[in-house]
Every structure is written in structure tokens, then in C-alpha cells.
Amino acid sequence: MTSRVAALRAQALALAGRPMFREGARDAVPMAIGIGAWGIVAGVAMAKSGMGVPLAIFMSVLVYAGSAQIASLPLIAADAPMWVVWATTLCVSLRFMAFSFHYRPYFAHLPRPQRVALSYLMGDTNFALFIRRFPEHVPGQRYDEYFMGCALVTYGIWEVSIITGIVAGHGIPASWGLGFAGTMALLALTCTQLRSPSTWMAAVVAACAAVAAYALPLKLNIVVAIAAAVAVCVLIDHARTGPAGAKR
């Protein structure tokens, strides 16, 4: 048992010393203020939902998805059926599916348990920073180390701040604008992904669709927005490259 702990410790220390791990960790630091602010807001919302501190912490550690957790709170408070909460979680988490599609070429060579472990740490911040750093997949880079550096810093900040919010609860007034700092963090991440006219188009179409379809239940507006943006961009790409689908 002690030898396993020692081996794990040695492994962790070795990972922390890798240049790629350090680069990933460094890149995540500027996002800390946004993640921290949003984590506190999410924590306060969980505290106010009345589910109790232990369950709130349990959910934060296990689910590790701020938007899904916040979306679930009013449903849990309103005694909605379990499947409604799960369906909402699915709608909010669909974007992670798109992330995993993008990560595949970078991580496909790793053993499956490690791929699943990396998946658990996926989030908006990691993804945007990762794709900004590595827009194209070139074999031979230690992508997993960069990802872990970025993801562990993000995870640490998020868990500390959300648990702070859960425990501090009502002591943190809404007027501080912490929630807005979280939105600004997501806005900054969105900006990192605007690399071409088509991505601008995707962002604008999705934004309009998400607002227009906001009244839909189960957070379906996000699904509608993704579908609309993808459809419009694929159609435009095809119109530009010719109906035969000629590749650029």
C-alpha cells in the first residue's frame, strides 16, 4: 500500500516537472479569476437551493460541470422527476461530446482507462486553451501532459471556489458581479475560437438561436443553437466549394 502511494507520488512529481505540463498549467492561470468567480456563484446557488452542504459538495466533486449543476437546481427544488434533470444534463453536456470529437486525434493512442480519466477533466476552459495552443494535430507531442497541466489547475480552482461558495452561501451578495465575471470568462474563451469567417458565422447563428429558443424546456435552446449553427456553416461551406463537395 505504502509502495503504491510512493509510486503514485513519484509519478505525480515527474508529471509536474514536465515542460508541457507546466505550459498547460501556466496557460490556465489567467483564466483563474473567471473560473473562481463562477465557481463561487455556482456554489452560492447550490447553497441557496437548500439541498444541504454535504450533497452540494458531493455533486460538485462528482459531476464537475457547472452549467449542468446550475441548470439542475431549480428542477431539484421544484421536485421535478429525475429523468427531467437527466435530460437537462444531457442537453447542457452535448457540447462536451463535440469537445471529445475534437480531442480524439490527440488522445486516440492512449490506453482507454486514461482516455476516460482525461474525459472526466474536460471543460470549456481546457478545451478552448488546448485548441488555441494546438490548432492542428501533429504526431509526437505530449498533448496529454499539456491537457493535464491545464485541467488540474482548472479543476483545483473550480473545486476550491465552488466549495467556498457552498459553505459561505448567503454571505456573498449577488451585486458583486461575480456571475458576470464567469460570463466574461466564457466570452473570452469564445473569442479564442473565432479563427475564420465561418467560425464567426457559427457564433452569431448560435447566439441568435440560443436567445430565440430560450423558452424551450430542458435547456433545448443550446441543442437548437448548435444544430442551427452547424447546419448553416456546412451549407455555406458547400455553397462556397461547389455542390460536388470538392475539398479545399
Partner: protein, 109 residues
């Protein structure tokens, strides 16, 4: 919901969330997929981020804001301008939030 129900709801949420994140990483072989979908999925992440942000900026309690004097819109515009100028994530977050707070508390919007 009772604590026990919340417990099971949480387990389900964790499983669903993890399955979504791992979806394309679990299979050994690439999943067969039509070309248009493969192409379209390139736009899904930016679309998703934008779809999460936009309602936060222009909706109040599910209704479109009906005044231009909304500090959030100007905060977001300031954040966008800062990003275009300095490409700084930190600057965008702090600047955008700063402008929003200045308008809310300074001008009482």
C-alpha cells in the same frame, strides 16, 4: 426531492456528463460518420460556447432586454474590444466585469 433522490439524481448526472465527455474517446476505431457531420462538428464547440454566453448577456428572467441602458451589454462589448486589442483572457474578464460594475454602481443602471 428527498436527499436520497438527490443522491441518485447526482449519480445519474455524473454518468451522463462523463459519457458525453468520453463519447468519441471510448471506441477503439473511429466511429463511422457522414462527411457533412464530420465537417459540421468542427463548428459545434464555438456554437455551444456562444449559445451559453448570449442568453446571459441579453435576457433578463427569460425576456429580451428592452433598454439600451443595460450594463451587461456594455461590459460584454468592452470585453470584446479588449480581447480584439490585447488578446488577453485575463484583460477581457477583468475589463468586461469592471465596465459592468462601473455602469451599475457609477451610473446606477
Amino acid at each position: 426531492m428527498s436527499p436520497l433522490e438527490i443522491f441518485f439524481t447526482t449519480i445519474g448526472m455524473a454518468v451522463i456528463s462523463l459519457l458525453c465527455r468520453a463519447f468519441f474517446l471510448i471506441p477503439k476505431q473511429d466511429l463511422p460518420m457522414p462527411g457533412w457531420l464530420r465537417e459540421g462538428l468542427r463548428y459545434a464547440p464555438i456554437a455551444a460556447l456562444s449559445a451559453v454566453v448570449a442568453p446571459e448577456l441579453v435576457l433578463t428572467q427569460g425576456h429580451l432586454i428592452d433598454t439600451w441602458r443595460d450594463p451587461r451589454v456594455f461590459g460584454a462589448l468592452a470585453g470584446l474590444a479588449l480581447y480584439a486589442w490585447r488578446r488577453s483572457l485575463f484583460g477581457t474578464i477583468v475589463g468586461g466585469t469592471g465596465v459592468m460594475l462601473a455602469l451599475r454602481f457609477g451610473l446606477g443602471w
